[in-house]
Symmetry: C2
Protein backbone atom coordinates (compact mmCIF):
# COMPACT_ATOMS: atom_id res chain seq x y z
CA UNK A 1 0.00 0.00 0.00
CA UNK A 2 1.75 3.22 -1.10
CA UNK A 3 2.02 6.02 1.41
CA UNK A 4 0.69 9.36 0.26
CA UNK A 5 0.59 12.72 1.96
CA UNK A 6 -2.93 13.36 0.78
CA UNK A 7 -4.66 11.67 3.68
CA UNK A 8 -4.38 14.18 6.52
CA UNK A 9 -5.43 13.69 10.11
CA UNK A 10 -8.36 15.63 11.50
CA UNK A 11 -6.08 18.32 12.90
CA UNK A 12 -4.59 18.97 9.49
CA UNK A 13 -1.18 17.40 10.10
CA UNK A 14 -0.18 14.91 7.43
CA UNK A 15 -0.41 11.57 9.22
CA UNK A 16 2.07 9.80 6.98
CA UNK A 17 4.73 12.34 7.93
CA UNK A 18 4.11 11.72 11.61
CA UNK A 19 4.32 7.99 11.08
CA UNK A 20 7.72 8.49 9.44
CA UNK A 21 8.90 10.35 12.53
CA UNK A 22 7.44 7.69 14.78
CA UNK A 23 9.25 4.97 12.83
CA UNK A 24 12.55 6.85 13.10
CA UNK A 25 12.17 7.30 16.85
CA UNK A 26 11.23 3.64 17.21
CA UNK A 27 14.40 2.56 15.47
CA UNK A 28 16.33 4.59 18.05
CA UNK A 29 14.69 2.53 20.79
CA UNK A 30 12.56 5.44 22.04
CA UNK A 31 10.17 4.05 24.68
CA UNK A 32 7.50 6.71 24.17
CA UNK A 33 7.48 5.94 20.46
CA UNK A 34 7.19 2.24 21.26
CA UNK A 35 4.20 2.87 23.53
CA UNK A 36 2.60 4.97 20.80
CA UNK A 37 3.23 2.27 18.21
CA UNK A 38 1.69 -0.38 20.44
CA UNK A 39 -1.39 1.78 20.96
CA UNK A 40 -1.77 2.04 17.20
CA UNK A 41 -1.45 -1.74 16.89
CA UNK A 42 -4.21 -2.17 19.46
CA UNK A 43 -6.60 0.55 18.35
CA UNK A 44 -5.94 1.68 14.79
CA UNK A 45 -5.32 -1.25 12.43
CA UNK A 46 -5.06 0.92 9.32
CA UNK A 47 -2.38 3.29 10.65
CA UNK A 48 -0.56 0.46 12.43
CA UNK A 49 -0.35 -1.34 9.12
CA UNK A 50 1.19 1.76 7.52
CA UNK A 51 3.69 2.06 10.35
CA UNK A 52 4.73 -1.56 9.81
CA UNK A 53 5.40 -0.70 6.18
CA UNK A 54 7.84 1.99 7.30
CA UNK A 55 9.77 -0.29 9.62
CA UNK A 56 12.25 -2.79 8.38
CA UNK A 57 12.24 -5.40 11.14
CA UNK A 58 15.73 -6.62 11.82
CA UNK A 59 14.57 -10.18 12.51
CA UNK A 60 16.94 -10.12 15.47
CA UNK A 61 14.35 -10.59 18.23
CA UNK A 62 13.94 -14.07 19.64
CA UNK A 63 10.32 -14.77 20.63
CA UNK A 64 9.53 -17.13 23.52
CA UNK A 65 5.87 -18.09 23.90
CA UNK A 66 4.82 -18.97 27.44
CA UNK A 67 1.62 -21.00 27.63
CA UNK A 68 -0.12 -23.57 29.85
CA UNK A 69 -3.31 -23.90 31.91
CA UNK A 70 -4.44 -21.00 34.12
CA UNK A 71 -3.06 -20.92 37.64
CA UNK A 72 0.25 -22.66 36.96
CA UNK A 73 2.33 -19.58 37.74
CA UNK A 74 3.25 -18.35 34.26
CA UNK A 75 3.44 -14.70 35.33
CA UNK A 76 5.81 -15.38 38.23
CA UNK A 77 7.99 -17.50 35.97
CA UNK A 78 8.10 -14.75 33.33
CA UNK A 79 9.17 -12.34 36.07
CA UNK A 80 12.07 -14.62 37.00
CA UNK A 81 13.06 -15.07 33.35
CA UNK A 82 13.25 -11.30 32.91
CA UNK A 83 15.87 -11.25 35.70
CA UNK A 84 17.78 -14.13 34.11
CA UNK A 85 17.99 -12.61 30.66
CA UNK A 86 18.70 -9.13 31.99
CA UNK A 87 21.62 -10.73 33.82
CA UNK A 88 23.00 -11.71 30.41
CA UNK A 89 22.66 -8.11 29.25
CA UNK A 90 19.75 -8.80 26.91
CA UNK A 91 17.06 -6.20 26.26
CA UNK A 92 13.79 -7.92 27.18
CA UNK A 93 10.25 -7.16 26.02
CA UNK A 94 7.20 -8.78 27.61
CA UNK A 95 3.77 -9.05 26.04
CA UNK A 96 1.26 -10.34 28.58
CA UNK A 97 -2.05 -11.28 27.05
CA UNK A 98 -4.57 -10.07 29.54
CA UNK A 99 -8.29 -10.74 29.52
CA UNK A 100 -10.62 -7.80 29.70
CA UNK A 101 -13.29 -7.84 32.36
CA UNK A 102 -16.69 -7.58 30.72
CA UNK A 103 -17.99 -5.90 33.85
CA UNK A 104 -15.37 -3.30 34.65
CA UNK A 105 -14.13 -2.99 31.07
CA UNK A 106 -10.58 -2.87 32.39
CA UNK A 107 -7.68 -5.26 32.23
CA UNK A 108 -7.88 -7.75 35.07
CA UNK A 109 -4.27 -8.52 35.82
CA UNK A 110 -2.42 -5.68 34.19
CA UNK A 111 1.14 -5.10 35.14
CA UNK A 112 0.40 -5.11 38.84
CA UNK A 113 3.02 -7.57 40.02
CA UNK A 114 5.70 -7.36 37.39
CA UNK A 115 6.05 -3.63 36.95
CA UNK A 116 7.15 -3.15 40.54
CA UNK A 117 10.42 -4.98 40.06
CA UNK A 118 11.37 -3.70 36.61
CA UNK A 119 9.85 -0.24 36.25
CA UNK A 120 13.16 1.58 36.56
CA UNK A 121 15.02 -0.74 34.17
CA UNK A 122 15.29 0.76 30.68
CA UNK A 123 16.25 -2.66 29.30
CA UNK A 124 12.81 -4.06 30.06
CA UNK A 125 9.53 -3.13 28.42
CA UNK A 126 6.33 -4.78 29.69
CA UNK A 127 2.99 -4.41 28.03
CA UNK A 128 -0.35 -6.05 28.77
CA UNK A 129 -2.64 -6.56 25.83
CA UNK A 130 -6.33 -7.23 26.17
CA UNK A 131 -7.53 -10.52 24.75
CA UNK A 132 -10.94 -8.91 24.12
CA UNK A 133 -12.80 -11.95 25.38
CA UNK A 134 -13.11 -14.70 22.84
CA UNK A 135 -13.49 -12.57 19.78
CA UNK A 136 -9.90 -12.85 18.57
CA UNK A 137 -8.18 -9.91 16.93
CA UNK A 138 -5.22 -10.36 19.20
CA UNK A 139 -3.24 -12.09 16.45
CA UNK A 140 -2.61 -9.06 14.30
CA UNK A 141 -1.79 -6.78 17.22
CA UNK A 142 0.56 -9.32 18.82
CA UNK A 143 2.47 -9.83 15.58
CA UNK A 144 2.78 -6.09 15.16
CA UNK A 145 4.03 -5.52 18.71
CA UNK A 146 6.71 -8.17 18.14
CA UNK A 147 7.77 -6.30 15.00
CA UNK A 148 7.80 -3.00 16.91
CA UNK A 149 9.96 -4.47 19.68
CA UNK A 150 12.21 -5.98 17.05
CA UNK A 151 12.63 -2.61 15.34
CA UNK A 152 13.31 -0.98 18.71
CA UNK A 153 16.22 -3.33 19.34
CA UNK A 154 14.86 -5.86 21.82
CA UNK A 155 16.85 -9.11 21.93
CA UNK A 156 14.11 -11.24 23.37
CA UNK A 157 10.32 -11.07 23.68
CA UNK A 158 8.45 -13.15 26.25
CA UNK A 159 4.88 -13.61 25.07
CA UNK A 160 2.65 -14.87 27.86
CA UNK A 161 -0.92 -16.11 27.33
CA UNK A 162 -3.85 -16.49 29.69
CA UNK A 163 -3.64 -20.22 29.19
CA UNK A 164 -6.96 -20.79 27.53
CA UNK A 165 -8.47 -20.15 24.17
CA UNK A 166 -7.42 -18.80 20.84
CA UNK A 167 -4.56 -16.70 22.20
CA UNK A 168 -2.57 -19.84 22.98
CA UNK A 169 -2.74 -21.00 19.39
CA UNK A 170 -1.53 -17.61 18.24
CA UNK A 171 1.37 -17.63 20.69
CA UNK A 172 2.60 -20.94 19.40
CA UNK A 173 2.37 -19.72 15.83
CA UNK A 174 4.52 -16.62 16.23
CA UNK A 175 7.12 -17.95 18.71
CA UNK A 176 10.58 -19.30 18.01
CA UNK A 177 10.47 -21.35 21.22
CA UNK A 178 7.40 -22.44 23.20
CA UNK A 179 7.52 -22.91 26.95
CA UNK A 180 4.64 -24.92 28.43
CA UNK A 181 4.12 -24.28 32.16
CA UNK A 182 2.38 -26.96 34.22
CA UNK A 183 2.02 -27.76 37.91
CA UNK A 184 1.41 -30.89 39.98
CA UNK A 185 -2.13 -31.86 40.90
CA UNK A 186 -4.12 -30.75 37.87
CA UNK A 187 -4.73 -34.25 36.64
CA UNK A 188 -1.08 -35.09 36.00
CA UNK A 189 -0.13 -36.25 32.52
CA UNK A 190 -3.71 -35.94 31.35
CA UNK A 191 -3.64 -32.15 31.67
CA UNK A 192 -1.01 -31.94 28.93
CA UNK A 193 -2.81 -34.27 26.61
CA UNK A 194 -6.21 -32.77 27.32
CA UNK A 195 -5.09 -29.28 26.62
CA UNK A 196 -3.55 -30.22 23.28
CA UNK A 197 -0.24 -28.95 24.62
CA UNK A 198 1.76 -32.06 23.82
CA UNK A 199 2.47 -31.12 20.22
CA UNK A 200 3.55 -27.57 20.80
CA UNK A 201 6.17 -27.23 23.53
CA UNK A 202 9.93 -27.01 23.13
CA UNK A 203 10.38 -26.86 26.89
CA UNK A 204 7.97 -28.30 29.48
CA UNK A 205 8.21 -26.93 33.00
CA UNK A 206 6.62 -28.42 36.10
CA UNK A 207 6.33 -25.31 38.26
CA UNK A 208 5.60 -25.24 42.01
CA UNK A 209 8.07 -28.10 42.40
CA UNK A 210 7.62 -27.98 46.19
CA UNK A 211 4.12 -29.40 45.80
CA UNK A 212 3.56 -33.13 46.19
CA UNK A 213 3.50 -35.00 42.91
CA UNK A 214 6.07 -32.90 41.04
CA UNK A 215 8.45 -35.81 40.53
CA UNK A 216 5.66 -38.14 39.47
CA UNK A 217 4.57 -35.58 36.94
CA UNK A 218 8.09 -35.27 35.51
CA UNK A 219 8.17 -39.06 35.09
CA UNK A 220 4.73 -39.00 33.40
CA UNK A 221 5.85 -36.29 31.00
CA UNK A 222 9.04 -38.11 30.10
CA UNK A 223 6.92 -41.21 29.51
CA UNK A 224 4.59 -39.29 27.20
CA UNK A 225 7.45 -38.21 24.98
CA UNK A 226 9.29 -41.53 25.02
CA UNK A 227 8.85 -43.17 21.65
CA UNK A 228 7.81 -39.85 20.15
CA UNK A 229 9.86 -38.20 17.43
CA UNK A 230 9.94 -35.09 19.57
CA UNK A 231 12.37 -34.67 22.45
CA UNK A 232 11.44 -31.48 24.27
CA UNK A 233 13.18 -30.54 27.52
CA UNK A 234 11.28 -31.45 30.68
CA UNK A 235 12.26 -29.48 33.79
CA UNK A 236 11.16 -29.01 37.38
CA UNK A 237 11.24 -25.45 38.71
CA UNK A 238 9.94 -23.28 41.50
CA UNK A 239 9.36 -19.80 40.13
CA UNK A 240 8.91 -18.42 43.64
CA UNK A 241 12.08 -19.86 45.22
CA UNK A 242 14.05 -19.66 41.96
CA UNK A 243 14.99 -23.38 42.05
CA UNK A 244 15.68 -24.71 38.57
CA UNK A 245 15.41 -21.32 36.83
CA UNK A 246 19.06 -21.58 35.73
CA UNK A 247 18.35 -24.85 33.92
CA UNK A 248 15.27 -23.36 32.30
CA UNK A 249 17.29 -20.38 31.14
CA UNK A 250 19.87 -22.81 29.72
CA UNK A 251 17.21 -24.74 27.80
CA UNK A 252 15.87 -21.54 26.24
CA UNK A 253 19.39 -20.28 25.52
CA UNK A 254 20.25 -23.45 23.63
CA UNK A 255 17.35 -22.81 21.24
CA UNK A 256 18.22 -19.11 21.06
CA UNK A 257 21.80 -19.91 20.08
CA UNK A 258 20.53 -21.81 17.02
CA UNK A 259 18.46 -18.73 16.21
CA UNK A 260 21.31 -16.25 16.60
CA UNK A 261 23.52 -18.47 14.47
CA UNK A 262 21.02 -17.94 11.68
CA UNK A 263 19.01 -21.19 11.66
CA UNK A 264 16.67 -20.55 8.73
CA UNK A 265 13.84 -22.89 9.71
CA UNK A 266 13.62 -21.29 13.16
CA UNK A 267 13.63 -17.79 11.67
CA UNK A 268 10.99 -18.69 9.12
CA UNK A 269 8.72 -20.29 11.74
CA UNK A 270 7.89 -17.05 13.54
CA UNK A 271 7.52 -14.99 10.36
CA UNK A 272 5.26 -17.62 8.81
CA UNK A 273 3.21 -17.65 12.01
CA UNK A 274 2.84 -13.87 11.93
CA UNK A 275 1.76 -13.89 8.30
CA UNK A 276 -0.79 -16.66 8.82
CA UNK A 277 -2.17 -15.21 12.07
CA UNK A 278 -2.41 -11.71 10.62
CA UNK A 279 -4.22 -12.99 7.53
CA UNK A 280 -6.48 -15.23 9.58
CA UNK A 281 -7.38 -12.41 11.96
CA UNK A 282 -8.22 -10.18 9.03
CA UNK A 283 -10.35 -12.88 7.37
CA UNK A 284 -12.17 -13.59 10.65
CA UNK A 285 -12.78 -9.90 11.28
CA UNK A 286 -14.38 -9.45 7.89
CA UNK A 287 -16.40 -12.61 8.47
CA UNK A 288 -17.63 -11.48 11.91
CA UNK A 289 -18.51 -8.01 10.66
CA UNK A 290 -20.51 -9.38 7.78
CA UNK A 291 -22.30 -12.13 9.59
CA UNK A 292 -24.16 -10.80 12.63
CA UNK A 293 -27.38 -9.54 11.11
CA UNK A 294 -27.33 -12.07 8.30
CA UNK A 295 -26.82 -15.01 10.70
CA UNK A 296 -29.86 -13.90 12.64
CA UNK A 297 -32.02 -13.72 9.52
CA UNK A 298 -30.77 -17.11 8.34
CA UNK A 299 -31.38 -18.66 11.79
CA UNK A 300 -35.02 -17.53 11.60
CA UNK A 301 -35.39 -19.29 8.26
CA UNK A 302 -33.87 -22.47 9.67
CA UNK A 303 -36.14 -22.30 12.71
CA UNK A 304 -39.13 -21.90 10.38
CA UNK A 305 -38.04 -25.08 8.57
CA UNK A 306 -37.34 -23.24 5.31
CA UNK A 307 -33.63 -24.01 5.18
CA UNK A 308 -31.06 -26.40 6.65
CA UNK A 309 -28.19 -25.26 8.87
CA UNK A 310 -25.79 -26.38 6.13
CA UNK A 311 -27.49 -24.31 3.46
CA UNK A 312 -27.61 -21.32 5.80
CA UNK A 313 -23.89 -21.67 6.57
CA UNK A 314 -23.06 -21.86 2.86
CA UNK A 315 -25.16 -18.74 2.30
CA UNK A 316 -23.40 -16.94 5.16
CA UNK A 317 -19.98 -17.85 3.82
CA UNK A 318 -20.60 -16.14 0.47
CA UNK B 1 -27.59 -28.30 -3.02
CA UNK B 2 -30.02 -30.55 -4.97
CA UNK B 3 -29.63 -34.28 -4.50
CA UNK B 4 -29.17 -36.25 -7.68
CA UNK B 5 -28.82 -39.95 -8.24
CA UNK B 6 -26.07 -39.42 -10.76
CA UNK B 7 -23.26 -39.40 -8.28
CA UNK B 8 -22.76 -43.04 -7.41
CA UNK B 9 -20.37 -44.44 -4.86
CA UNK B 10 -17.34 -46.40 -5.92
CA UNK B 11 -19.22 -49.71 -5.56
CA UNK B 12 -21.93 -48.56 -7.96
CA UNK B 13 -24.72 -48.11 -5.43
CA UNK B 14 -26.37 -44.72 -5.68
CA UNK B 15 -25.18 -42.98 -2.53
CA UNK B 16 -28.07 -40.58 -2.37
CA UNK B 17 -30.48 -43.48 -2.10
CA UNK B 18 -28.58 -44.94 0.80
CA UNK B 19 -28.53 -41.59 2.52
CA UNK B 20 -32.32 -41.48 2.21
CA UNK B 21 -32.55 -44.83 3.98
CA UNK B 22 -30.11 -43.68 6.62
CA UNK B 23 -32.18 -40.54 7.23
CA UNK B 24 -35.36 -42.59 7.58
CA UNK B 25 -33.76 -44.94 10.09
CA UNK B 26 -32.34 -42.00 12.00
CA UNK B 27 -35.79 -40.47 12.35
CA UNK B 28 -36.92 -43.76 13.92
CA UNK B 29 -34.22 -43.37 16.55
CA UNK B 30 -32.12 -46.25 15.21
CA UNK B 31 -28.82 -46.27 17.14
CA UNK B 32 -26.81 -47.94 14.38
CA UNK B 33 -27.98 -45.29 11.93
CA UNK B 34 -27.04 -42.60 14.45
CA UNK B 35 -23.54 -44.05 14.81
CA UNK B 36 -23.23 -44.17 11.01
CA UNK B 37 -24.42 -40.57 10.71
CA UNK B 38 -21.91 -39.40 13.31
CA UNK B 39 -19.10 -41.17 11.48
CA UNK B 40 -20.08 -39.32 8.32
CA UNK B 41 -20.07 -36.02 10.22
CA UNK B 42 -16.57 -36.77 11.45
CA UNK B 43 -15.02 -38.20 8.30
CA UNK B 44 -16.99 -37.28 5.20
CA UNK B 45 -18.08 -33.62 5.18
CA UNK B 46 -19.64 -33.77 1.71
CA UNK B 47 -21.92 -36.75 2.39
CA UNK B 48 -22.70 -35.54 5.91
CA UNK B 49 -23.84 -32.28 4.44
CA UNK B 50 -26.19 -34.16 2.07
CA UNK B 51 -27.56 -36.21 4.95
CA UNK B 52 -28.32 -33.00 6.86
CA UNK B 53 -30.29 -31.82 3.86
CA UNK B 54 -32.46 -34.93 4.13
CA UNK B 55 -33.22 -34.48 7.80
CA UNK B 56 -35.69 -31.98 9.06
CA UNK B 57 -34.44 -31.26 12.56
CA UNK B 58 -37.31 -31.01 14.97
CA UNK B 59 -35.62 -28.28 16.99
CA UNK B 60 -36.79 -30.18 20.07
CA UNK B 61 -33.37 -31.02 21.53
CA UNK B 62 -32.11 -28.82 24.34
CA UNK B 63 -28.32 -28.39 24.21
CA UNK B 64 -26.33 -27.88 27.40
CA UNK B 65 -22.68 -26.89 26.94
CA UNK B 66 -20.37 -27.95 29.77
CA UNK B 67 -17.12 -26.02 29.88
CA UNK B 68 -14.44 -24.87 32.34
CA UNK B 69 -10.72 -25.38 32.99
CA UNK B 70 -9.20 -28.87 32.72
CA UNK B 71 -9.26 -30.96 35.88
CA UNK B 72 -12.40 -29.48 37.45
CA UNK B 73 -14.39 -32.71 37.13
CA UNK B 74 -16.60 -31.96 34.13
CA UNK B 75 -16.80 -35.62 33.07
CA UNK B 76 -17.91 -36.85 36.49
CA UNK B 77 -20.50 -34.09 36.63
CA UNK B 78 -21.82 -34.99 33.17
CA UNK B 79 -22.11 -38.58 34.35
CA UNK B 80 -24.25 -37.46 37.31
CA UNK B 81 -26.40 -35.24 35.10
CA UNK B 82 -27.12 -38.19 32.80
CA UNK B 83 -28.61 -39.99 35.83
CA UNK B 84 -30.63 -36.93 36.83
CA UNK B 85 -32.18 -36.36 33.43
CA UNK B 86 -32.76 -40.07 32.84
CA UNK B 87 -34.67 -40.01 36.13
CA UNK B 88 -37.03 -37.51 34.51
CA UNK B 89 -37.52 -39.87 31.58
CA UNK B 90 -35.55 -37.73 29.13
CA UNK B 91 -33.56 -39.28 26.30
CA UNK B 92 -30.00 -37.98 26.77
CA UNK B 93 -27.19 -37.63 24.24
CA UNK B 94 -23.62 -36.81 25.26
CA UNK B 95 -20.95 -35.38 23.00
CA UNK B 96 -17.59 -35.42 24.76
CA UNK B 97 -14.93 -33.47 22.93
CA UNK B 98 -11.84 -35.54 23.32
CA UNK B 99 -8.32 -34.61 22.35
CA UNK B 100 -6.40 -36.95 20.12
CA UNK B 101 -2.97 -38.03 21.25
CA UNK B 102 -0.43 -37.00 18.66
CA UNK B 103 1.72 -39.95 19.69
CA UNK B 104 -0.71 -42.85 19.90
CA UNK B 105 -3.17 -41.37 17.42
CA UNK B 106 -6.01 -42.54 19.64
CA UNK B 107 -8.53 -40.70 21.78
CA UNK B 108 -7.10 -40.11 25.22
CA UNK B 109 -10.14 -40.23 27.47
CA UNK B 110 -12.70 -41.92 25.32
CA UNK B 111 -15.75 -43.27 27.01
CA UNK B 112 -13.71 -45.07 29.61
CA UNK B 113 -15.58 -43.99 32.74
CA UNK B 114 -18.99 -43.09 31.50
CA UNK B 115 -19.85 -46.01 29.27
CA UNK B 116 -19.65 -48.46 32.15
CA UNK B 117 -22.68 -47.00 33.91
CA UNK B 118 -24.89 -46.33 30.90
CA UNK B 119 -23.99 -48.87 28.26
CA UNK B 120 -27.17 -50.92 28.66
CA UNK B 121 -29.49 -47.88 28.73
CA UNK B 122 -31.10 -47.28 25.32
CA UNK B 123 -32.12 -43.80 26.45
CA UNK B 124 -28.50 -42.66 26.58
CA UNK B 125 -26.11 -42.21 23.67
CA UNK B 126 -22.52 -41.19 24.41
CA UNK B 127 -20.03 -40.26 21.76
CA UNK B 128 -16.49 -38.94 22.05
CA UNK B 129 -15.34 -36.71 19.27
CA UNK B 130 -11.71 -35.93 18.60
CA UNK B 131 -10.71 -32.28 18.83
CA UNK B 132 -7.94 -32.93 16.30
CA UNK B 133 -5.42 -30.87 18.19
CA UNK B 134 -5.77 -27.18 17.62
CA UNK B 135 -6.71 -27.28 14.00
CA UNK B 136 -10.43 -26.77 14.47
CA UNK B 137 -12.95 -28.52 12.25
CA UNK B 138 -14.84 -29.68 15.30
CA UNK B 139 -17.43 -26.95 14.81
CA UNK B 140 -19.10 -28.39 11.76
CA UNK B 141 -19.09 -31.96 13.07
CA UNK B 142 -20.46 -30.95 16.48
CA UNK B 143 -23.30 -28.97 14.93
CA UNK B 144 -24.15 -31.91 12.72
CA UNK B 145 -24.13 -34.42 15.58
CA UNK B 146 -26.54 -32.18 17.48
CA UNK B 147 -28.81 -32.16 14.45
CA UNK B 148 -28.55 -35.95 14.15
CA UNK B 149 -29.44 -36.43 17.81
CA UNK B 150 -32.29 -34.00 17.40
CA UNK B 151 -33.63 -35.92 14.42
CA UNK B 152 -33.26 -39.18 16.38
CA UNK B 153 -35.50 -37.86 19.14
CA UNK B 154 -33.09 -36.94 21.93
CA UNK B 155 -34.55 -34.50 24.45
CA UNK B 156 -31.27 -33.21 25.75
CA UNK B 157 -27.65 -33.12 24.57
CA UNK B 158 -24.80 -32.57 27.00
CA UNK B 159 -21.84 -31.17 25.09
CA UNK B 160 -18.65 -31.37 27.13
CA UNK B 161 -15.38 -29.67 26.14
CA UNK B 162 -11.80 -30.33 27.13
CA UNK B 163 -11.73 -26.96 28.82
CA UNK B 164 -9.16 -25.24 26.70
CA UNK B 165 -9.00 -23.83 23.23
CA UNK B 166 -11.30 -23.27 20.33
CA UNK B 167 -13.70 -26.06 21.25
CA UNK B 168 -14.96 -24.06 24.21
CA UNK B 169 -15.91 -21.16 22.01
CA UNK B 170 -17.81 -23.48 19.74
CA UNK B 171 -19.64 -25.10 22.65
CA UNK B 172 -20.87 -21.76 23.85
CA UNK B 173 -22.05 -20.84 20.38
CA UNK B 174 -24.25 -23.86 19.79
CA UNK B 175 -25.67 -24.36 23.31
CA UNK B 176 -28.98 -23.21 24.73
CA UNK B 177 -27.53 -23.21 28.24
CA UNK B 178 -23.88 -23.05 29.27
CA UNK B 179 -22.64 -24.67 32.45
CA UNK B 180 -19.21 -23.48 33.64
CA UNK B 181 -17.50 -25.96 35.98
CA UNK B 182 -14.88 -24.63 38.41
CA UNK B 183 -13.18 -25.91 41.53
CA UNK B 184 -11.53 -24.33 44.58
CA UNK B 185 -7.81 -23.66 44.56
CA UNK B 186 -7.13 -22.75 40.96
CA UNK B 187 -6.65 -19.08 41.65
CA UNK B 188 -10.18 -18.40 42.87
CA UNK B 189 -12.14 -15.65 41.15
CA UNK B 190 -9.23 -14.94 38.82
CA UNK B 191 -9.59 -18.29 37.09
CA UNK B 192 -13.03 -17.29 35.80
CA UNK B 193 -11.89 -13.91 34.62
CA UNK B 194 -8.65 -15.20 33.15
CA UNK B 195 -10.33 -17.87 31.15
CA UNK B 196 -12.83 -15.46 29.63
CA UNK B 197 -15.58 -17.57 31.17
CA UNK B 198 -17.36 -14.76 32.92
CA UNK B 199 -19.37 -13.66 29.90
CA UNK B 200 -20.58 -17.06 28.83
CA UNK B 201 -22.11 -19.08 31.66
CA UNK B 202 -25.77 -19.44 32.55
CA UNK B 203 -24.89 -21.63 35.51
CA UNK B 204 -21.58 -21.57 37.44
CA UNK B 205 -20.74 -24.61 39.49
CA UNK B 206 -18.01 -24.87 42.11
CA UNK B 207 -17.32 -28.59 42.02
CA UNK B 208 -15.35 -30.58 44.60
CA UNK B 209 -17.19 -28.66 47.30
CA UNK B 210 -15.49 -30.74 49.98
CA UNK B 211 -12.20 -28.97 49.23
CA UNK B 212 -11.13 -26.01 51.33
CA UNK B 213 -12.04 -22.68 49.79
CA UNK B 214 -15.30 -23.70 48.12
CA UNK B 215 -17.39 -21.24 50.12
CA UNK B 216 -14.90 -18.43 49.58
CA UNK B 217 -15.04 -19.11 45.87
CA UNK B 218 -18.84 -18.98 45.83
CA UNK B 219 -18.66 -15.59 47.56
CA UNK B 220 -16.05 -14.38 45.03
CA UNK B 221 -18.22 -15.47 42.13
CA UNK B 222 -21.31 -13.78 43.52
CA UNK B 223 -19.18 -10.68 43.98
CA UNK B 224 -18.03 -10.78 40.38
CA UNK B 225 -21.58 -10.80 39.09
CA UNK B 226 -22.93 -8.23 41.55
CA UNK B 227 -23.52 -5.01 39.69
CA UNK B 228 -23.46 -6.86 36.38
CA UNK B 229 -26.50 -7.00 34.15
CA UNK B 230 -26.15 -10.78 34.13
CA UNK B 231 -27.44 -12.92 36.97
CA UNK B 232 -26.27 -16.47 36.34
CA UNK B 233 -26.88 -19.19 38.94
CA UNK B 234 -23.91 -19.90 41.21
CA UNK B 235 -23.96 -23.32 42.87
CA UNK B 236 -21.74 -25.54 45.00
CA UNK B 237 -21.73 -29.23 44.15
CA UNK B 238 -19.78 -32.40 44.65
CA UNK B 239 -20.09 -34.53 41.54
CA UNK B 240 -18.59 -37.51 43.36
CA UNK B 241 -20.84 -37.49 46.44
CA UNK B 242 -23.82 -36.10 44.54
CA UNK B 243 -24.27 -33.14 46.91
CA UNK B 244 -25.98 -30.25 45.17
CA UNK B 245 -26.71 -32.13 41.95
CA UNK B 246 -30.46 -31.70 42.52
CA UNK B 247 -30.07 -27.92 42.63
CA UNK B 248 -27.94 -27.97 39.50
CA UNK B 249 -30.55 -30.04 37.73
CA UNK B 250 -33.17 -27.53 38.85
CA UNK B 251 -31.15 -24.60 37.47
CA UNK B 252 -30.80 -26.31 34.08
CA UNK B 253 -34.47 -27.35 34.08
CA UNK B 254 -35.57 -23.77 34.65
CA UNK B 255 -33.78 -22.72 31.44
CA UNK B 256 -35.06 -25.79 29.63
CA UNK B 257 -38.66 -24.98 30.56
CA UNK B 258 -38.32 -21.62 28.78
CA UNK B 259 -37.01 -23.52 25.78
CA UNK B 260 -39.80 -26.12 25.74
CA UNK B 261 -42.36 -23.33 26.08
CA UNK B 262 -41.05 -22.03 22.76
CA UNK B 263 -38.84 -19.10 23.79
CA UNK B 264 -37.76 -17.81 20.38
CA UNK B 265 -34.54 -16.09 21.42
CA UNK B 266 -33.29 -19.26 23.12
CA UNK B 267 -34.18 -21.38 20.11
CA UNK B 268 -32.52 -18.97 17.70
CA UNK B 269 -29.32 -18.80 19.79
CA UNK B 270 -28.28 -22.39 19.14
CA UNK B 271 -29.26 -22.36 15.45
CA UNK B 272 -27.42 -19.09 14.90
CA UNK B 273 -24.38 -20.59 16.65
CA UNK B 274 -24.48 -23.66 14.42
CA UNK B 275 -24.74 -21.58 11.26
CA UNK B 276 -21.88 -19.27 12.26
CA UNK B 277 -19.62 -22.10 13.49
CA UNK B 278 -20.28 -24.22 10.41
CA UNK B 279 -19.55 -21.31 8.09
CA UNK B 280 -16.49 -20.28 10.08
CA UNK B 281 -15.11 -23.82 10.07
CA UNK B 282 -15.60 -24.03 6.33
CA UNK B 283 -13.91 -20.66 5.75
CA UNK B 284 -11.00 -21.63 8.01
CA UNK B 285 -10.60 -25.00 6.30
CA UNK B 286 -10.37 -23.37 2.89
CA UNK B 287 -7.95 -20.83 4.32
CA UNK B 288 -5.70 -23.47 5.90
CA UNK B 289 -5.69 -25.61 2.77
CA UNK B 290 -4.73 -22.69 0.60
CA UNK B 291 -2.10 -21.15 2.83
CA UNK B 292 0.57 -23.71 3.77
CA UNK B 293 2.89 -23.59 0.78
CA UNK B 294 2.13 -19.97 0.01
CA UNK B 295 2.81 -18.87 3.60
CA UNK B 296 6.20 -20.49 3.43
CA UNK B 297 7.09 -18.73 0.19
CA UNK B 298 5.87 -15.40 1.54
CA UNK B 299 7.82 -15.91 4.79
CA UNK B 300 11.01 -16.33 2.79
CA UNK B 301 10.36 -13.04 1.04
CA UNK B 302 9.77 -11.29 4.37
CA UNK B 303 12.93 -12.82 5.82
CA UNK B 304 14.84 -11.56 2.77
CA UNK B 305 13.53 -8.05 3.46
CA UNK B 306 11.55 -7.91 0.22
CA UNK B 307 8.14 -7.61 1.83
CA UNK B 308 6.52 -6.67 5.15
CA UNK B 309 4.50 -9.14 7.24
CA UNK B 310 1.42 -7.00 6.58
CA UNK B 311 1.86 -7.11 2.83
CA UNK B 312 2.48 -10.87 2.96
CA UNK B 313 -0.68 -11.38 5.04
CA UNK B 314 -2.72 -9.31 2.59
CA UNK B 315 -1.30 -11.39 -0.24
CA UNK B 316 -2.13 -14.63 1.60
CA UNK B 317 -5.68 -13.52 2.26
CA UNK B 318 -6.46 -13.06 -1.42
Amino acid sequence: MPLTHKKGSTDGTPRALRLTQLAARLRNGDRVALAKGISLAENDPARASKLMGLLRPTGRTFVVGVTGPPGTGKSTLVDKLIDSFRGRGLKVGVIAVDPTSPITGGALLGDRIRMTGHSSDKGVYIRSMASRGWTGGLSRATSQVIQLMDAAGFDLVLLETVGIGQSDIEVVGVSHAVLVVLMPGLGDDIQVSKAGLMEVGDVYVVNKSDLAGADTMIVSLLGLFRGSSRTPSVLKVSAISGDGIDKLEGAIESIRSRFTKGNQELRLKSIRGMIVETARASAMRKFAQASDVRADRLARQVLAGKMTVEAAAARLEK
